[in-house]
Assembly symmetry: C2
Homo-oligomer: 305 residues x 2
Amino acid sequence: MHRSFEVTVLGTSSASPTKTRHPSGQLVRLEGDYFLIDCGEGTQLQLVKLGLRMHRIRYVLISHMHGDHFYGLPGLISSMALFGRTEKLTIAGPEPLQGLLETIFQITESRVPFEIEYIVTNPTVPQQILGNNKWAIKTVPLQHRIACTGFVIQEKGPELRLNVSVCEAMGVPVKEYESIKWGEDWLKTDGSIVPNKMLTLPGNPNRSYAYISDTIYDESLIEHIHGSSLLYHEATFMHDLLKRAEETHHSTAKQAGQMASLCNASKLIIGHFSGRYSHTDDLLNEARAAFAQSFVAEEGRTYPV
Amino acid sequence: MHRSFEVTVLGTSSASPTKTRHPSGQLVRLEGDYFLIDCGEGTQLQLVKLGLRMHRIRYVLISHMHGDHFYGLPGLISSMALFGRTEKLTIAGPEPLQGLLETIFQITESRVPFEIEYIVTNPTVPQQILGNNKWAIKTVPLQHRIACTGFVIQEKGPELRLNVSVCEAMGVPVKEYESIKWGEDWLKTDGSIVPNKMLTLPGNPNRSYAYISDTIYDESLIEHIHGSSLLYHEATFMHDLLKRAEETHHSTAKQAGQMASLCNASKLIIGHFSGRYSHTDDLLNEARAAFAQSFVAEEGRTYPV
C-alpha cells in the first residue's frame, strides 16, 4: 500500500512575477506531513486560492536568500500567527534567515505565538537536516550566485511486505512483524534464525523527490540525486541563451533534461522560467529531447512523486 | 481643463489575504505622476496583472510597519532593479523602514541601480513631506497599535480660468497669464492695478485624496482631511464588532461613513476588510446609512478623485 507523496507547484517564475507566474514555492505532502519548499512573494495567496491549508505546514525549506525564494515567508508566518497556530514550525535555510525574520518580527511588533525551530543549511556540504522513521530531508549544495542548497525528501520505511500466510503458519509473534518488514531476520526464542526472505515479499521501493533550485549546470549533483523518483530542476533559459545562463548561474531546459537522464530520474519537472518566455512549449521540447519523461511545472497542479 | 487624478485599488484585505482579496495597496495617478500608497505582499503581482507600469511609480508612501502594508516592497524594488530602472525612487514611511530595506538588500546581495531617497514620516505631527507646484503630500497622524500615518495628496494649481477675451481687449501681456490664473492682480507698467477678478472666471477647485490607513475612529482627523474630494477610510469591521475594532485600533464601516460625513468629503471608499466578511454588501449599507456617497473599494477598479 503506497503512501501519498506529491508535490503541488505554487510558483514557476524566475526573479520577477509575470501576468501568469508567481515566484518559487512548492508544497510537498508525504502522507500527513506538509513541507513548503521556498516561499516567494505571494505563496500564502497561492495556498489560500488553491485551498491548501497553511496550518498543516510543519516544515519550511528555503533554498537561498534571493527574494523570489523567500519574500513570502514573513507574511506566511504572520498569517499562521493570526490564525492561532500553536504548533512548532521548523524552518531550514541559509544562515542569515533567522536573524532577518527576527528583525522583521521586532520591527512589525509581531508576537509569534508558536515556537520556530531554525536549522541552518550548509551550502558546501550535503547533510541530512531532518528525519524520522518515515522520511529524511537532505540538502544538496548548489552553485548559484549566493549560498544555495537543493533539498531531497527521501521516503523511508519498510520496503518489504510481510508474507502473512507464512508468518502465521510459522507462528511469528505479531510484535516481530515491524522489524521483519524492515528487513530483519526472525530470531526465535530457541536461538535459531529464520531468514528474512522466507517471511517477506518484495514491496514498494522508497521514493524520493529532489528539488534542485537555482544553479548552474553541475554534474557533481548526480551522486546526491541519483535515482530520484521525481526531479525538479530549474530551467530558467532555453539553451540558445546558455551564455546568459552561465553568467547568472542558472541552467537551461536542455541541461535540466540532461541532468534527469544522467541521474536516472523517473520523471522531471522544470520551472523557474525567465519572464521572456510567455509559453513553455519550446522549453518542454528542449528538455524532452534530452529526457523523454519531462514535464512543465504548472501552477496549481499536483505531481505524484 | 481637469487634470487626471485617480486611484486604482490593488488590495482590500486586512491582515491576511483571502481567496479574493490582497493586502493593502493603491496606485494614485495625478496627471503624469504615479504614487503607490502601501505595498502589501503581492502588490507587484497586482500591478503586473492590471497592466499598471511599475517603472512609472516615482513615490512610495508606507503608512505603517505592519506586514500587510509593506511586505511587498522588497520584491517591488527588486523587480524595478531587474527591469533596469535608473530613475530615483522616493520612499516615505516610518523610521525603521530604511534600515530594514537596506538589511534586506545586503542579505540578498542585491544591487539597487537607482537612488532611493527616504523620507521619515512623523507619527505624531502632521507634515508636508513632498510637494511641487502641481501637488503636495501631507501626513496625518493616526491612532493604531504601531506608529502610523495617513496621507493626503492635494492637487495644487491655478483655481481660476483666464477670461481671455477681457485680457486680450485690455492688452494683458501673455507672460502675466500664469500669475493671474494663480489669483494675482495685474500690475501695469504705469503703476496702476487691474484687480484679478476683472481678468478671470471661476475655475476648478483643487481636489484632494485622503488615505486613512489603519486607525481607531478619531475625530481629531477631521481638521486635516476636511473637504476631501475622495476619502479612503479603513472599515475593518461591522459596527456590531465595535469592541473588537477598538481593541485592535481599527474602525467600523459605520464610523468610516460618519467620518466622511463630518469632514464633508465628496465621496468615500471603504476597504481593509476583515476576512470574516466574504461579501461587502452589509459593510457598504452600514457606511451608506451614515454617508450616502459611500462605495466599496474593489480590487482592480479605478476611482476618480
